[in-house]
Symmetry: C2
Subunit: 397 residues, 2 copies
Amino acid sequence: MDIQELYSENVRKMKSSEIRELLEVSQQPGVISFGGGLPNTGAFPVGDIKKIVNDVLDEEGDIALQYGTTPGRKKLIEEIISMARKDDIKADIDNVIITVGSQQALDLLGRVFLNEGDTIFLGSPTYLGGINAFRSYGADMIGVPLDDDGMDVDKLEEKIKESRKEGKNLKMIYTIPTFQNPAGVVMSEERRKRIVEIAEENNLLLVEDDPYGKLRFDGKPLKPLKAYDENVVYLGTFSKILSPGFRLAYAIAPEEVTKKMVIAKQSIDLCTPTFTQSIAYRFIKEGYMDRHIPRIIKMYKRKRDLMLEALEEYFPEGCKWTHPHGGMFLWATLPEHIDTKEMFKDAIKEKVAYVHGRAFYVDGGGSNAMRLNFSNPSDEEITEGIKRLGKVIEKKL
Amino acid sequence: MDIQELYSENVRKMKSSEIRELLEVSQQPGVISFGGGLPNTGAFPVGDIKKIVNDVLDEEGDIALQYGTTPGRKKLIEEIISMARKDDIKADIDNVIITVGSQQALDLLGRVFLNEGDTIFLGSPTYLGGINAFRSYGADMIGVPLDDDGMDVDKLEEKIKESRKEGKNLKMIYTIPTFQNPAGVVMSEERRKRIVEIAEENNLLLVEDDPYGKLRFDGKPLKPLKAYDENVVYLGTFSKILSPGFRLAYAIAPEEVTKKMVIAKQSIDLCTPTFTQSIAYRFIKEGYMDRHIPRIIKMYKRKRDLMLEALEEYFPEGCKWTHPHGGMFLWATLPEHIDTKEMFKDAIKEKVAYVHGRAFYVDGGGSNAMRLNFSNPSDEEITEGIKRLGKVIEKKL
């Protein structure tokens, strides 16, 4: 049987995530990894979940173990709406769909909005999973530079104008305004207001991915883009504040968009796990979430501080890095002649791992940069790992 | 903002499941529904799950709540391989991918194999979720009649020949050989051997969907198609033998196909819930599954018998129905002049619901048929509901 002959054209667009392979290498024994984007296992509320699961099974096992509706459990959606209201986001039940991680929301948006060759604008650098999802629909991705205030909206406008001139079919702006992955930066208030206008003026769907917004260590919270314009599609997740193993996230979108996403999801997986939805519902409703988030913040703030101290101490002159006020990542830039992709081999020899910068760019760039995750490693690993990495860099100078 | 203008061409191919709307009507208070395809909530092993969840959280909460790998937890895959071996299916770790329900496996197969307009052959009637998944990729679906021995393989060969002559691009045969949804019939051994040959001779991917195979009430088990040919893609699920709310299923496929499905899944949702995978693993490993399946069989066998008795007693002459040896459905055929889609309104007035036959056909047919689910309703509801339905039919004679 010749299976090769049967594959669809989609297969051509699929690319195994390069990072996944790197991450496998970083799991070798003794390697300290700043590579993954994982929460700290110590930040999982195991005891709370245990208590809640028992209640769920005692009181509504028949619902929690049965098929659910495609948009998600109404009770959980109502709690999500209450949470969103605190961020000045207005939403009704018909605006929300619960997804299997935010990755599914990105995939659904790809399916509902992208034809092959359609243009979308995203950060340079940006989230790899976003790149993968949009690439699988054959999107034409245009990178927009970031600085310390997030995506450069003037450059965004320029790129939109250029692309229009070239006759491209413009569809979407994808951005992570708060504690951006990978750069760790926050979009300024002024730019937030402006990007919403740019989307409206150009009739582009503005997708705001916000996995880290609740993990703010210091500084004043800024309103999400969604608070400025109901047409924004807002993506939230429980992966960073409860458990990624539950695979629970949500999109808040204009009703007609949610409806299309729901129809798409029907044929994709029928529904998101009812069991984990039922746990998450009680986790919010019964006040566990409000008590738990400060604990995660305390832990990650300490880890960020440790990493910043270690960088100050061990990274050679000529290196710089972002000082994130929240989230899970910081972004280090080395002297220009150092290729971080090449240097990875040396790092692994010294038993330390990171993700090289180029992985997060759709159009080159980042060759001398790296993403460093501070949420997952232990405190000791942070100090020791940065020390090792400093040595590796020193040898390249 | 004009969102309409931004939608992709995919949206055109999406169709909200007609059945979902019918099912909503059937949830009106007092309505006895034979419509859904739901397990009985009394068949959920709530106490076992409670015990297991506590162990999972005590012993490996850090893994069960964290991100997992895209193919799925290795421990669970190994248990699936052992289960499959009992059915004469040989598989290695690289042949298996854990999916968010079998629906996701169907979607992944669509993505990996189907270009717009590609032809696939499936039962007339067949599973609605299959029709929806393949339609969303713009497949050209050709129905192949069933009889008491399952899909008519001679007709299948004819249709393949015809389609080749018409210059169609043939890709796949999709079949549910055991306790077919919706018809409840089982493909004979002779036909099983033949359909595997037909797939090989014509270089078509043969997809065997087997959600009900373990729910056999009587008669001798037959080998799955996969046991005859390793090129078959076999789909199994935990939805009918453990909990659909866990959203856990699996595909066993040739390694190169599994690999493509894994790459596709990376951009679709990263991974299947680690939490429910960890529970399912122990459910099998610790022997709960082997003790639990006979309990479900006992319950559903009783319900099938009750439904057959009630049909015998209350359905008017001129009606016939299948006598399934397992699964969750039977298929009733009424006198030809009765349109079951039209009759649905009358049935709802009498507070009883079913799914009309036409919903399961890609090319017409089934207008005087209906699918009756016996797993979900209570024993009393089965007798009372069939009595009501008998009255509705009588008025149409």
